[in-house]
């Protein structure tokens, strides 16, 4: 591959990845200079030692936070960038795993030292952190919370509908029974009786029961809210 082909392929891949124009120019200036400094007629040799222009472009894109395949959520792996083999004069005869030094890289990394203080106050969790955790874990609890909420609403609605049904049918039977009393007295009496019984049930049993139930439900909700508030204020 000659210089022109190499640089063209590099430019194409960088442009395809959407790198800003001045970054593309910077990279191309650098690589063009490499070819020129390597000497005339050494294009093949140089491009071979550089490696594939597509791979280089991928590395540059990754450094700029662009995933080469167009994935928006991608973080560049900066600490590993440019890792290469090296030989220390004192350890020339030892052949251990290639990643031996990587394990200790934080200890002499300049940047890591500067950033170190940012992570040091992770001891006590703040309210904001708790809120963030609760928000982030919402897929876990949202289902249960929604189910509980739905169940509560359904129970209240059922109780309410039951009471309304008793009241409505009781009153309707009394009214219709009075009308029937004139036309067909026995049926009218029967209807009136049933109507009174239903209204009585509504009045005597269900309404107080509903009152107690609603008190219990609202009291429970209040307790839940204050429990959550206490939990945050702790």
């Amino acid at each position: 591959m000659n210089r022109l082909e190499f640089l063209t392929r590099l430019r194409n891949t960088l442009e395809h990845g959407g790198l800003p124009q001045n970054d593309i120019d910077d990279a191309l200036t650098y690589y063009e200079e490499v070819f020129l400094d390597a000497g005339f007629g050494k294009d093949e040799e140089t491009s071979q030692s550089l490696g594939s222009p597509e791979e280089i472009a991928k590395g540059i894109l990754a450094d700029s936070g662009i995933h080469p395949d167009g994935d928006a959520e991608f973080l560049p792996e900066k600490p590993e960038q440019g890792a290469q083999g090296f030989e220390n004069s004192s350890t020339a005869n030892n052949s251990y795993g290639n990643d031996t030094y990587d394990g200790a890289q934080g200890s002499y990394s300049y940047d890591a030292n500067k950033q170190g203080s940012t992570y040091s106050n992770s001891g006590g969790m703040s309210t904001a952190a708790k809120v963030i955790i609760i928000i982030l874990t919402f897929p876990l609890w949202i289902g249960i919370a929604a189910a509980l909420f739905g169940l509560t609403v359904a129970l209240i609605a059922t109780a309410f509908a039951l009471i309304a049904a008793f009241a409505a049918s009781g009153i309707a039977l009394i009214v219709y029974g009075m009308a029937m009393l004139i036309k067909v007295p026995p049926v009218g009496l029967c209807m009136l009786g049933t109507g009174f019984i239903l209204t009585g049930i509504f009045g005597l049993i269900l309404r107080p029961a509903f009152k107690g139930l609603s008190k219990y439900v609202f009291g429970g909700a209040k307790k839940l809210v204050s429990w959550i508030r206490d939990h945050f204020n702790r």
């Binding site: 200036t29 650098y30 550089l50 590993e80 890792a83 090296f86 350890t91 990587d102 990394s109 300049y110």
Partner: protein
């Protein structure tokens, strides 16, 4: 048996990696480049050639390093004419000098720690 296989593997790795058993990480490369440029202002190709005396790097390894150092304002560039074209020269900033000093201190400390384990039965003095 296993040991033999591991040794064989290491020989292969060694040959492939030009006898370099340990990897150089990004911070170490940053530090070395700063050190090379601090000697005198120089350009990309020459930095690579100089580093090759010690580590197996190519120009494509060096590019992200130089970019990173420029972004951190440890290095700055200027163009100088050479044979009818412009050559980009690199120069260490004051911030870069400070960083290099820090790197050097860290390296000495790190080397001592590694050698305190790696060179335990060899004695501390005969490995320089």
């Amino acid at each position: 048996m296993l040991c033999k296989r591991r040794i064989a593997m290491h020989i292969i790795i060694k040959e492939r990696r030009m006898n370099m058993a340990f990897s150089v990480n990004a911070s170490l490369l940053d530090a070395m480049v700063l050190s090379v440029v601090k000697r005198e202002d120089t350009y990309g190709y020459e930095i690579t050639q100089y580093l090759r005396k010690a580590v197996d790097v190519s120009e494509s390894t060096l590019y992200p390093v130089l970019r990173r150092l420029q972004k951190s304002e440890f290095l700055e560039t200027y163009d100088k004419e050479y044979m009818g074209r412009n050559r980009r020269y690199y120069k260490v900033t004051e911030k870069g000098c400070d960083a290099l000093e820090d790197y050097r201190e860290e390296w000495v400390a790190h080397r001592q720690k590694v050698e305190s384990i790696l060179m335990e039965d060899k004695g501390e003095t005969d490995n320089e």
